[in-house]
């Protein structure tokens, strides 16, 4: 971050002022007033002020991030609309370091074998085991890569890293694995998209990122089954391939 970005953040100046005030107070209290509690109060102010100055209020404007994410979903919506896609996405473990999703064109005729999808050429319109479908890179694939998710990470830890710490897209996330199914519950999601095709095939934005995270951390194909949006939370179900 450049100095000019620091200057534009009012909390930086507030923190710096508080820190300076605390340092001066501590100096005078220690050498002139000879009061240890007052010196400690000055030090406490300095620590708090510098901590405020060091912590950015918003590293990237949240609205800009939201707009970019929703913008990328608009392109996907147009693509899914164009091909009249009815199927649900299968999030595949990374090929060339990026998670991708295969979405069969038709809804549920026969189960597409996950291994066939893995062998399918990486093209927009592709065929896996004789079944036509789209291969796309959802917005979550880049998020997962940048968040540094590695294969073998526990699912809840991986979801926390991407959805809460990296994206700051929700208050909390829980995950339960039952046999070959994974159910996740995201509390107070802060990013959403009202695009019907994307929502049907990939899940809402936060669920799509969760799908990518699961595919990467488990190293297995993850089929999106359904999502239920309730007051202040989203529940989604995935099937592990």
């Amino acid at each position: 971050m450049k100095l000019i970005d620091f200057a534009e953040d009012i909390s930086f100046w507030f923190g710096l002022t508080l820190g300076l005030f605390g340092a001066i107070l501590a100096f005078f209290a220690y050498f002139i007033a000879l009061s240890i509690p007052l010196t400690a109060l000055g030090l406490a102010c300095a620590i708090l002020g510098l901590s405020i100055a060091l912590t950015p209020s918003s590293p990237i404007p949240k609205l800009a991030v939201k707009a970019m994410l929703e913008g990328s979903c608009l392109n996907l919506e147009a693509l899914l609309e164009e091909f009249n896609v009815e199927g649900k996405a299968v999030y595949m473990p990374p090929r060339d370091d990026r998670v991708f999703a295969f979405i069969p064109l038709s809804s549920n005729p026969t189960q597409v074998e996950f291994e066939e999808i893995n062998k399918a050429p990486l093209r927009v319109l592709t065929s896996a085991g004789g079944k036509l479908g789209l291969i796309i890179f959802p917005p979550g694939s880049e998020i997962v890569r940048l968040a540094g998710i590695i294969e073998g990470l526990a699912i809840e830890e991986a979801l926390n890293l991407t959805l809460i710490e990296f994206l700051e897209g929700a208050d909390s996330v829980k995950a339960v694995a039952k046999e070959d199914k994974i159910i996740i519950e995201v509390l107070n999601p802060k990013v959403s998209s009202e695009l019907p095709k994307v929502k049907h095939s990939l899940g809402s934005l936060i669920v799509s990122v969760a799908g990518c995270t699961l595919a990467k951390s488990l190293g297995k194909p993850i089929a999106f089954i359904e999502e239920v949006i309730e007051e202040g939370k989203v529940k989604a179900e995935f099937k592990v391939g």
């Binding site: 220690y30 509690p37 708090l48 901590s51 405020i52 100055a53 060091l54 912590t55 710490e165």
Partner: protein, 80 residues
């Protein structure tokens, strides 16, 4: 409330509480205050894990001060 606000409020509360509590207990050694502040700072940072603009030099300074205080205490005990 977002993570940053929670972190700052928690840190402010911990520092204020520690200062008042030690003052009420008539603590007159500055190293006791600094040690408690260091613990407060690292507890708040570990719980909320806030993002930083640069390296966490406040944490580094507090850690060095804390290490110095502990080293002095250990020396005192060893010399006795």
């Amino acid at each position: 409330m977002d993570k940053r606000k929670s972190y700052i409020l928690t840190l402010a509360f911990l520092l204020a509480f520690s200062t008042v509590a030690l003052s009420v207990l008539r603590e007159t050694k500055l190293d006791a205050y600094i040690s408690v502040f260091t613990i407060d700072y690292f507890i708040a940072s570990a719980v909320f894990r806030p993002r930083r603009r640069t390296i966490d030099f406040v944490g580094i300074a507090l850690f060095i001060a804390f290490t110095y205080i502990v080293a002095l205490k250990v020396m005192e005990i060893l010399i006795k």
